[in-house]
Symmetry: C2
Subunit: 389 residues, 2 copies
């Protein structure tokens, strides 16, 4: 299996991009990544695109060739494949692009993620957001995605003593980092009091405990590590890319406070890379809900089970903590365009590893971890990235 | 890159399966393939699932983990990935499964395709079927998928003298083969006169020129060729798997009577396998519309451009012709559950290569070709399969 490197990254601003279409934001991110990788369209071997719900959102399937077409590459007849796994669609596309290059059948590929959520009706209702939950066992009974995460939060509070304030701190951290990120959907800082005082979405989760619906796109160029230095002075090696799944319905899990898909994907990823959680200096994790960040930190091995709340309060996950988490602002502040999220995580981590993250740069980062989650954890993807210079 | 083999195949009956859910038919096909491959769930490394429109059709995304879950494998936390490219979704999933095994990161995987079309509203309208066409350039102006193929047919008739009767012959052949296939949606034979006399869908295409909307699922087990003989006496090697794309909108193509995506995918596939069209004895091709079969035969290299009509009339594509085409009944008679089609093509070809196709068995088949198309040809996937004994 060939070693695979990230040669270039790009992303649009995340937010309410009402003046630009799905295809336009997809192309913007992809071209940025190709320019950064000094890759001409003649070198490109294919596109793997993560997107959750373009069929429901904009009545459009087959969107991978659509993006290639509007990038002016239709006449080159490149392979283009869409990959879907709810909110984990982007990192699943990364996994497929990684396999494509690792296999040797493809040399250089663009992995993109794109989603357009703000200018369509009924995104927040059951029809679209909750289509990543189990329709027959959860959604038909009225459960929405925030409601299911709220159940997980309540149980975590009951079982481990996690407090409402600890949840709130996750959101405060995200907005603080978002304030330093020009691409972030939200750049305003918030306080614990604001989080606690905000309107309820699904008790105990309030408005500031939930990531926004955003438009946005992100892209990375992958290629064989052996030739990466022709394209970049700072190739970033994909040290591991692993996917694991779990039951769709939360009620069917052995423990509702644990994302077994994340536990298993992380274990496989650390095995593949011959590394351990303690080696990771910077991470982007799934904070679509404040509770999802806490359980993820535990299930990735960064906190003991039940301890993520106190660990977060103690500053272990700040910029100068043991693991600097969600320096981008995370899904909460950078934004959460489903299919783009997993790719944007990699964009941030590549910039961190290269020392290009400006105001939010973490010192001495050599190994980074991205964790992307679909729905309530039916899919988890864990990616390890490391400096290859 | 490792050689990849098909170790087992399975499929449900195609048709109006009102008594079974999406998840049930997906599992039925997958378990059949695993039993045939003598593979226990402990050997399984992952699932790649082709599906076009479960989000729009049944309000359910993340369906790859959903299928694993309902197969009782949720607790094993296997990777499960959905792949989408309109009607080519199934063969794109096969491509991803092929890359996964070829890369060495996965050993044994199930590639599945499943779609449930008959028990939901508005499948035939713009909203779902035509979501595989270009929404902004075609669908908003009223073009449906049959209308776009009708434009291609009219131009082919004008440019090459293709006749209405030649189109009809494609449907008659499909139903004749369907009559020999217990899994086929339609098992009734039809006559040229019936095709010509049927109600119009989009002139010149009538009801019998268009494949039905079907429910159905199909699955294959892939593994490394080097260990395949532990599982089967008749491993079938994937000699090539290639994807190519084209503009979404028909009007943007250099020639509306040519599927350049098929031309390029076929050229790449024959190069990968070091073979030529003349080496192929049996093929499953995209006859969602009678015209799509004729242009596909030309673009795959089985007929000269413009000659597929006369060649079909001359019997070159019958069971005893130069290339035996769509012995399964094709999309027209076996049925067309979007995401399952490309996988079902491989199921039929594997049975042909093993000599297990009973009444529709083609003599001396050693090399087989599958061609799967999304929409009007924005995506084409060409797969070459050969006996490895």
């Amino acid at each position: 299996m060939r070693d695979v490197a990230v040669l270039g990254v790009g992303m649009t601003k995340f937010g309410e991009l009402w003046d630009r279409s799905f295809r336009e934001i997809g192309i913007e991110a992809g071209l940025q990544a190709m320019v950064e990788a000094k890759l001409s369209s003649g070198d490109l071997g294919g596109l793997f695109l993560g997107n959750m719900a373009s069929g429901s959102l904009i009545d459009q399937e087959q969107i991978a060739p659509l993006i290639l077409d509007y990038a002016g590459l239709g006449a080159r007849h490149l392979p283009a494949v869409r990959v879907e796994g709810g909110g984990a669609s982007g990192s699943l596309a990364l996994h497929q692009g990684y396999l494509a290059v690792a296999s040797g059948l493809y040399d250089f590929v663009v992995v993109g993620g794109a989603e357009k959520l703000t200018d369509v009706p009924d995104v927040t209702g059951n029809q679209i957001t909750s289509s990543a939950a189990d329709h027959e066992w959860e959604v038909v009974f009225g459960a929405t995605l925030p409601a299911l995460w709220a159940l997980i939060a309540r149980r975590h509070m009951h079982q481990y003593g996690t407090t409402r304030e600890q949840l709130a701190r996750v959101a405060v951290h995200a907005h603080e980092m978002g304030s330093k990120n020009p691409n972030a959907h939200y750049r305003n800082k918030i306080t614990i009091e604001q989080v606690l005082g905000a309107g309820e979405v699904a008790e105990p989760l309030g408005m500031f405990d939930c990531a926004p619906l955003s438009d946005g796109a992100a892209a990375v160029v992958l290629g064989p590590l052996e030739t990466a230095r022709k394209y970049t002075d700072q190739p970033i090696r994909i040290a591991a890319s692993q996917v694991a799944c779990d039951t769709m319905a939360v009620q069917h899990r052995r423990d509702v406070t644990t994302l077994d898909s994340t536990v298993v994907a992380a274990r496989r990823a650390f095995e593949q890379a011959h590394r351990a959680p303690a080696d990771v200096r910077v991470a982007e994790i799934h904070d679509a809900y404040t509770i999802s960040a806490l359980v993820s930190l535990e299930d990735l091995g960064f906190s003991e089970k039940g301890h993520a709340g106190p660990d977060f309060e103690a500053g272990r996950f700040g910029a100068k903590g043991d693991v600097a988490v969600n320096m981008s602002g995370g899904l909460k502040a950078q934004g959460a365009p489903f299919g783009a999220v997993g790719v944007a995580q990699v964009v941030e981590l590549v910039r961190q590893l290269r020392g290009q993250a400006k105001d939010r740069q973490v010192a001495d980062a050599r190994l980074a971890l991205a964790q992307d989650v679909g729905g309530t954890g039916a899919t988890s993807v864990v990616t390890l990235l490391e400096r290859a210079d």
